[in-house]
């Protein structure tokens, strides 16, 4: 017999991924408005599809459990949280939709978002980059550039950045931080294997 804890683990992990993805989408969506950047808005749209699939998988996974009446409330709580992440993702998509439709964001939106000093950039990791093959912990992107890796896009997949996630050549890093770090970042993802 599986205890409640083991039978929950995979479901809860997937829920955590749904939550993280929905929050990433919201960050990207506001940034896309702030920077009036279609590429970021398009990322939100891609993530939205990813979210839809993930949410369906999540709900199916919950339904595979033979739930006893005593457990039913625990699972209902999880299902409700899953629905919430989906709603947040939809809201993020709505925000990104403004940019994708080519509507010039009104200046008050920039003021409301007020991330004046922060920026979000895409950077593809070249084969020559010292980052390729390193885990995020080893890569020390923050130490080198002052910027944080928000997410990693690998082909059609989105990878949650964890300390032991290994960066591969060809990965697109979505990175946020102060604009001063962007040059360092570009150097890092493209340069030959020489780091200070």
């Amino acid at each position: 017999m599986m205890g409640a804890k083991e039978s929950f683990k995979d479901i809860v992990d997937m829920l955590a991924e749904l939550k993280d993805t929905s929050e990433l989408m919201l960050d990207l969506a506001y940034s896309s408005i702030f920077l009036n950047n279609k590429e970021l808005a398009q990322d939100v749209a891609t993530l939205e599809e990813y979210m839809d699939d993930l949410h369906t998988k999540f709900e199916l996974l919950v339904l595979t459990r033979c739930i006893t009446p005593e457990d039913s409330k625990d699972y209902l709580g999880l299902i409700r949280l899953g629905v919430v992440t989906e709603k947040i993702a939809d809201a993020a998509m709505q925000i990104a939709g403004v940019v994708l439709r080519g509507l010039e964001p009104h200046p008050v939106l920039r003021l409301a978002i007020k991330e004046a000093e922060e920026t979000v950039v895409h950077a593809q990791v070249s084969k020559k980059s010292p980052l390729a093959g390193k885990s995020l912990k080893e890569a020390q992107v923050h130490e080198e550039t002052g910027m944080w890796v928000l997410s990693i896009k690998r082909g059609d997949k989105w990878v949650r950045p964890k300390p032991d996630t290994v960066i591969e050549a060809g990965d697109h890093l979505i990175v946020s931080g102060y604009a001063e770090g962007v040059d360092d970042l570009k150097r890092l993802v493209n340069s030959e294997k020489r780091m200070k």
């Binding site: 809860v12 409700r80 949280l81 919430v84 709603k87 939809d90 403004v98």
Partner: protein
């Protein structure tokens, strides 16, 4: 059933409205997840209070935006504001849904707490009583950040919210103060917030 109040146009700028909606909706998500993970009814109730506020703001924003539009170009750029505002409203509804998990006593299994990040952080809300030693003091004077590592993230005064209050903001009797910090700091914060001039002793 929650009571829905009457709403009338007030001359408030679109900028103030959208800023408050965005800030509140994001704060609500944080509070709501926290309320669900730690099964906190007072915080869940605070989220519901905020949801009502955001609903009102949404109406006001639409009214202000309608008045602000003078030509097709205005309309195009203001519709973007209105769409973002409605997204913030959706987010606040989503936060309300999380709060309902607590208020309807459905609950969230403790295992979920382990899987979510920021577990080291605690949130709390305290009401400043009449005669509290904190009443009429500014946040700067209270020095909560330096003394116990606690940050005030919002103050509710009746139905108004002051989000990320400035250091010179005064805490008044009757205010609901929402704070964030490490578990130890938050415990101390809750203890000290309850003191009144009579109980404080020396």
């Amino acid at each position: 059933m929650a009571k829905i109040g009457k709403i009338k146009y007030k001359p408030v700028s679109v900028r103030d409205l959208i800023t408050e909606m965005k800030d509140l909706s994001e704060l609500m998500i944080d509070l709501a997840y926290f309320a669900a993970l730690f099964n906190s009814r007072p915080l869940a109730e605070e989220v519901i209070e905020m949801e009502r506020r955001v609903d009102d703001l949404a109406y006001r924003l639409d009214m202000s935006a309608m008045i602000a539009a003078r030509d097709p170009k205005d309309a195009e750029s203001l519709v973007a504001v209105s769409v973002v505002a409605s997204a913030a409203d959706k987010i606040s509804d989503a936060a309300g849904d999380i709060a309902a998990i607590v208020l309807k006593e459905i609950g969230v299994h403790p295992i979920v707490r382990e899987a979510f990040e920021k577990v080291e952080e605690r949130l709390t809300r305290v009401e400043i009583q009449k005669g509290s030693v904190w009443a009429n003091k500014s946040l700067r004077d209270l020095e909560l950040s330096a003394k116990m590592g606690v940050d005030i993230i919002a103050i509710r005064r009746n139905t108004d919210f002051i989000i990320n209050p400035e250091k010179d903001e005064l805490v008044l009797a009757g205010d609901v103060v929402i704070a964030r910090g490490a578990p130890m700091g938050i415990e101390e914060f809750e203890r000290l917030a309850g003191r009144t001039v009579q109980t404080a002793g020396s």
